[in-house]
């Protein structure tokens, strides 16, 4: 999922201070799992805004905020309430926010979250980055994403900086290459892995902004 966290309240206050009425839009996908775009998050934000003397004209939770046409259909039902507000607040990731910007070009749209990373939920409200969406997946080879989980994105084994199997950059974390190496060992492929050199990585596949059309021939 796309992991997001609420902006610090002081930052949000600063962004909102010139507006008095708001329409709030959440998202039922990742932001709900992160508790940054679900009903509870919306009602908390609504309560805080009202306590600050602001008006909330209405709210709704988009099914999938990054799905532009679907969100356009859903949002059309709230047109009057949105027109009544001076500003839209989005409780989603940066993608969902930009759907709303595209649909309401003339109205200020302010995200209430900062978008962090693509990650997994370990326990409730505990997230770990797992994927950098680099466009060239090596997981079939290494099992864990060394591009993401190694601070130096080492593709061919660890650097010389680990101590007792812990990462040089964050000694609380196990060096991901120690994990990857165990995976290679348990699969019996250490020697074949080291017969060639993985990479160098083709970063052109991660060159933003990227577009992808799955319907195109050859995709």
């Amino acid at each position: 999922m796309i992991v997001s966290k609420k902006k610090p309240i002081e930052d949000l206050s600063q962004l909102l201070k010139r507006y008095n009425s708001f329409f709030l839009i959440g998202c039922s996908e990742c932001a709900s799992l992160c508790s940054t775009g679900n009903e509870e998050a919306i009602l908390n934000l609504k309560g805080w805004l009202e306590k600050e003397g602001k008006k909330v004209t209405g709210w709704f939770i988009a099914k999938t905020g990054c799905q532009i046409l679907g969100t356009k259909r859903e949002v059309s039902k709230y047109k009057d309430l949105i027109d009544e507000s001076e500003c839209i607040l989005t409780l989603s990731c940066g993608s969902g926010t930009q759907t709303i910007v595209e649909l309401f070009e003339d109205k200020p749209v302010i995200p209430t979250n900062d978008t962090l990373f693509i990650g997994n939920m370990r326990r409730f409200k505990e997230f770990e980055e797992k994927c950098r969406a680099c466009g060239e997946c090596f997981l079939a080879i290494t099992g864990v994403c060394v591009v993401t989980l190694c601070p130096k994105s080492m593709l061919n084994g660890p650097c010389g900086g680990y101590k007792n199997g812990k990462c040089e950059v964050n000694p609380q974390r196990k060096c991901v290459w120690i994990t990857a190496f165990s995976i290679l060992e348990s699969r019996g492929v250490v020697d074949s892995f080291y017969e060639s050199l993985l990479g160098p990585k083709d970063w052109s596949k991660a060159s933003s902004p990227r577009n992808y059309k799955a319907m195109e021939k050859g995709s």
């Binding site: 080492m154 061919n156 084994g157 660890p158 650097c159 101590k163 040089e168 120690i178 160098p200």
Partner: protein, 284 residues
């Protein structure tokens, strides 16, 4: 690098444009050592360029070893800087992935790590064959003598040994180890390394000067394992006795390495004064 026992030292270029102190050290080192290694902003603390320091060493008739890390340059900059270094007369390169910026004085910097040190070795192999990493032809060939680093201290050791093997296959002609405090650990690595013909190994050592220095190395230098027994032994010494202990400790290791032909040479790291290298080498 022939069959003689090689002695190199490491110098860190200055933090700033004034090279007077470095040049004075070079004058003093000229007749003492075989080559001087210039670090590439070690511990990610920004310093004067290693290439520039190598050029200044050449002007002083000293053989320089250019340390080059993958931390701050993408593959274009690495190749471009290597060609530049070659044009300036630099022939020895020691490549490493490089300490992460989190350790340095520019923690906010974007870490590059476009390629790792194995790829950088391959890049140099290509430059020596007159082509770049993408096999585009160059207007000539370089003739670098290229080395890589290996850290026999780490646990678990096998992933490190496999990288050593890989670096050898990517073209490393010599290896310099991370600083060593236990010959037993070094021997485990050497038993593995000696399977490969023609490999030259230089053992990294330091001359312990103060308790503070040893504690700093134990805690702050990535991948360095100082045995607890050594830390305890040094901590029990009187402060004024540490320097003598440090020289004796390094001498004992160096003599064993040299006399048993365990490796091809030693590399003295983290030196502060030329005098200490001179005293040490006189006794060796």
């Amino acid at each position: 690098m022939g069959n003689e026992f090689v002695i190199t030292v490491e110098l860190t270029p200055p933090k700033g444009p004034d090279v007077t102190v470095m040049l004075n050290k070079l004058e003093g080192l000229r007749d003492l050592v075989d080559a001087v290694n210039f670090t590439d902003s070690p511990s990610a603390k920004m310093r004067l360029s290693s290439t520039a320091a190598c050029k200044l060493a050449l002007e002083k008739k000293i053989v320089p070893v250019l340390q080059m890390t993958c931390r701050d340059r993408n593959r274009i900059a690495l190749q471009s800087d290597l060609l530049g270094a070659y044009a300036l007369g630099i022939r020895n390169v020691l490549v490493m992935t490089g300490d992460h910026p989190i350790w340095g004085d520019h923690k906010e910097a974007k870490p590059v790590y476009d390629v790792d040190s194995s790829h950088l070795l391959k890049i140099i192999k290509n430059l020596n064959e007159g082509k770049d990493i993408n096999e585009n032809s160059l207007n000539g060939k370089t003739d670098f003598f290229v080395g890589a680093v290996v850290n026999p201290n780490v646990e678990p050791l096998m992933p490190q040994l496999k990288r050593f093997e890989q670096k050898f296959q990517c073209g490393a002609e010599f290896f310099q180890t991370q600083m060593i405090f236990e010959l037993e650990r070094l021997k485990i690595f050497l038993d593995f390394a000696n399977k490969y013909d023609g490999i030259k190994i230089i053992v990294g050592l330091i001359i312990i000067k103060t308790k503070k220095m040893l504690n700093y190395i134990a805690e702050k230098i990535p991948g360095v394992a100082v045995p607890l027994g050594l830390i305890e032994k040094v901590s029990k010494l009187r402060d004024e006795d540490v320097e003598k202990f440090g020289i004796d400790f390094a001498l004992e290791m160096s003599r064993q390495i040299r006399d048993t032909k365990m490796a091809n040479g030693i590399h003295i790291m983290a030196i502060s004064k030329v005098e200490e290298v001179k005293n040490f080498l006189n006794l060796l």
